[in-house]
């Protein structure tokens, strides 16, 4: 029951505890309505986010992944988001070679006070993923299962 069929797509968020998770809280406190697709995983810092988590989520069936951390220079740990920015940027540019649209993954910066910005980010990212539609899924252990289904879909 991870997503509601036909209504939602599977979107995973990785948010740093200090800024963006707080920003999402602020959006909640402000009762800023958001689509329900996103599920948030809380991590201490965007620097903790191994870009491979993003790929893991996509390969396990996520349709979109959103990462959000503190604005550059505002990292609670001083440098975490600077590392994150480089690593996540690389991964975003890498995804297309695997056959995932780069737009399935975005990273951004939202501070704890930016409830409205968070609402805006969630709404527009969710919309972006819905426009792309479901991501390709790997079915079964052998490639043939997926390839046959992809061929059938065409």
């Amino acid at each position: 029951m991870p997503v509601l069929k036909g209504k939602e797509l599977r979107i995973v968020g990785f948010l740093c505890n200090w800024c963006s998770y707080g920003g999402a809280d602020t959006a909640g406190v402000g009762r800023f309505n958001q689509p329900t697709d996103l599920r948030i995983i809380r991590v201490p810092c965007s620097g903790r986010i191994d870009p491979l988590f993003v790929v893991k989520a996509l390969m396990n069936g996520a349709d979109g992944v959103l990462v959000s951390g503190c604005h550059p220079r505002d990292c609670h740990y001083a440098e975490g988001n600077f590392y994150a920015r480089r690593r996540l940027e690389i991964m975003q540019r890498f995804l297309p070679v695997l056959g995932y649209e780069a737009e399935r993954f975005e990273y951004t910066w939202v501070s704890a006070s930016e409830g409205q910005r968070w609402q805006q980010v969630v709404a527009s990212f969710t919309d972006q993923i819905h426009k792309l539609g479901p991501a390709p899924k790997i079915i079964g252990p052998q490639a043939a299962d997926t390839l046959n289904q992809m061929a059938a879909a065409l």
């Binding site: 890498f94 990273y107 490639a143 992809m150």
Partner: protein
């Protein structure tokens, strides 16, 4: 090769102070070479340098840490040495580097394709321009440049970047036979599902032997690779194409900004999966964003282990 004797002399001179010198020698058939570990004076005679000297011997260096090691390097191999030095994985004072002007090494897969089959090679003569291979029933004359590995066709570093001994005349900067990343760009022009399906199809035959990883000079985790670990548990041991693709992504990402595109991963693959392309993709993005090339400067810091407060080439999304 013209300088082979000169090289042997250099090694002979250095060997008394070294535990081992890494080079190449003949292998199970005339078309193949194999890594050669020179420990004794008499081992030196077997040393052969030729376009068959495909192996990147830098792969052995981290495992020989603590020993005094000599290593014969092609230009591309020397970049792996530089990268290992840069990452403090080997000690410069323990390594003696023998460089030579490399005019390229063959791609065995291309030869196999040209011959149709390469299981019965009797003799193999390599000149400056051709490889003449005698199988049991036929002599095949192949143009050397066409048989060269792709990395050689785009090579910009034929001479060792660092060396203690350099034999022969340096080539300098050659005109590459091909432009970088042409194949990658062609691949990128395919549709999204085509790209997705490509990797599933190619990696489906992966047997998870991890030769790609074991042959990689910069896969220094060795026995502690995340691929076979339960903690962290990134991958299952199932024969599952998902995990196979995921492993290649892990490998490519861990190589980002470190890979010198020596191509050992792809060369080592017993089932010929074109895994190098994933690393090339990473590298091209690294080059575009950070103007960085791995393995050319022992003092540089790999881009993913550093940062700038303002990133000139990263434009963040506006919402």
């Amino acid at each position: 090769m013209k300088f082979q004797e000169e090289l042997k002399d250099s090694i002979r001179k250095a060997l008394p102070d070294l535990d081992v010198v890494l080079g190449w020698c003949g292998s199970f058939d005339p078309l193949h070479a194999t890594p050669h570990f020179i420990r004794r004076e008499e081992d030196i005679d077997k040393l052969e340098i030729s376009p068959l000297s495909v192996h990147n011997l830098a792969t052995y260096l981290p495992g020989l840490r603590g020993k005094k090691v000599g290593i014969v390097v092609k230009g591309c191999d020397s970049r792996s040495v530089v990268e290992l030095l840069q990452e403090n994985l080997i000690n410069r004072e323990d390594i003696t580097i023998f460089g030579f002007p490399c005019t390229g090494v063959v791609d065995q897969a291309k030869i196999k394709k040209a011959l149709g089959h390469a299981g019965n090679v009797r003799t193999c003569d390599i000149s400056d321009s051709a490889i003449v291979i005698q199988t049991e029933d036929k002599a095949h004359s192949l143009t050397l440049t066409q048989m060269l590995a792709d990395k050689c066709r785009t090579c910009r570093y034929p001479d060792a970047i660092i060396s203690d001994y350099f034999v022969g005349d340096k080539i300098g900067e050659p005109a590459p036979l091909e432009t970088d990343y042409a194949a990658l760009e062609a691949f990128e022009s395919l549709s999204v599902p085509e790209r997705f399906g490509y990797w599933l199809k190619e990696l489906d035959r992966c047997i998870r032997c991890y030769a790609c990883r074991s042959a990689c000079p910069l896969c220094v985790c060795r026995d502690h690779c995340a691929a076979e670990s339960r903690d962290p548990h990134w991958l299952s041991q199932e024969n599952n194409v998902r995990d196979k693709v995921m492993f290649q992504v892990i490998h490519a990402y861990h190589m980002a900004g470190r890979c010198t595109e020596c191509g050992e991963c792809q060369r080592a693959c017993p089932v010929d999966i074109p895994v190098l392309m994933l690393k090339q993709k990473m590298n091209r993005e690294i080059r575009d964003i950070f103007q960085y090339e791995a393995g050319v400067d022992p003092e540089a810091t790999p881009p993913l282990l550093s940062f700038n407060m303002e990133e000139e080439n990263i434009t963040e999304k506006e919402w």
